[in-house]
Amino acid sequence: MNGITLPDVFMLLVAVLGGATAILVVVSRNVVHAALYLVVTLLSVAGAFLMLGAEFLAWSQVLVYVGAVVVLILFGLMLTRAPIGPMAQHNEQGVLALGVSLALFGFLCVVIFQAFGDVRLILVPVTTAAIGEVLYVQWAFPFMSLGFLLTVALIGAIVMARREEGEGPEPPAETDADAGSRLRPHRPDLTTAEPGVFAEREQQVRS
């Protein structure tokens, strides 16, 4: 009963992949890289759903999170003009936050191993048809109120994010990094740096 079976191995692989990329999401100094690591984390969560036999949930995770939410987050990064390059993204509470999360993880590990250390899951795949039957019969009212909640949330988001006349200060002007090629070169006589051009000039000065 205590041997490691094939589902255990796959679950461990998925857990290692998801945990490593989740840590990369929170420590990455480049915000776009963090969003792309988040894709791998959410995909590994979908893999964990597949291993647990929840196929409909796994594919809705891929569609909703990897497809829509990550694109929304990338739009958010773009609209707030997030710095593309690497820069310091952590505040001065980093050590304290690390302590809190490590303590929480240790506590959760102790609790989980004490309470569920010897529980084994009997994995029976739940087909999409089976979850649809209970979702549209027994869970019909919660499901419809979920649709209402989504509608209200989307209308609220649109109302909040709509720009009104003369609201707030203007965002800061473009920095040098944004301006790119429109900046004038610092040496007007030398627009491109070609190899050997400095040596040539030095020779001219000497002769």
Binding site: L42, V45, A48, Y65, Q89, L121, L123, V134, G168
Partner: protein, 104 residues
């Protein structure tokens, strides 16, 4: 499959999300950490739903609740990004350490 693997995976994701929420500066990165925490909660729901199913639950409560959390998470990202855009428009910055207008 032993029940501890998905549960430890979920605990790890949750703690990483807590670290991200507490230590990140950029509000969008804080939202991403909240997403990681929501994903870990759905893993927990599905795992306990499997245990409940083995003990005679025919309503698939765990998976249906995980589906609800998925949808609520999508709504949360929409509203959260609207709030971040509003913050950026009013303060010209998404650094949540600078969003201290209601402090004291």
């Amino acid at each position: 499959m032993a029940a501890v693997y998905p549960l430890i995976f979920a605990a790890l994701l949750f703690c990483v999300g807590v670290y991200g929420v507490l230590s990140r500066r950029n509000a969008v990165l804080v939202l991403m950490s909240v997403e990681i925490m929501l994903a870990s909660v759905t893993i927990n729901l599905v795992t306990f739903g499997e245990i409940a199913k083995a003990r005679g639950d025919v309503l698939l409560t765990g998976q249906v609740f995980a589906l609800f959390v998925l949808a609520v998470g999508a709504a949360e990202v929409g509203v959260g990004l609207a709030l971040v855009l509003l913050l950026y428009r009013n303060r010209a910055s998404v650094n949540i350490d600078e969003a201290d207008l209601m402090k004291y």
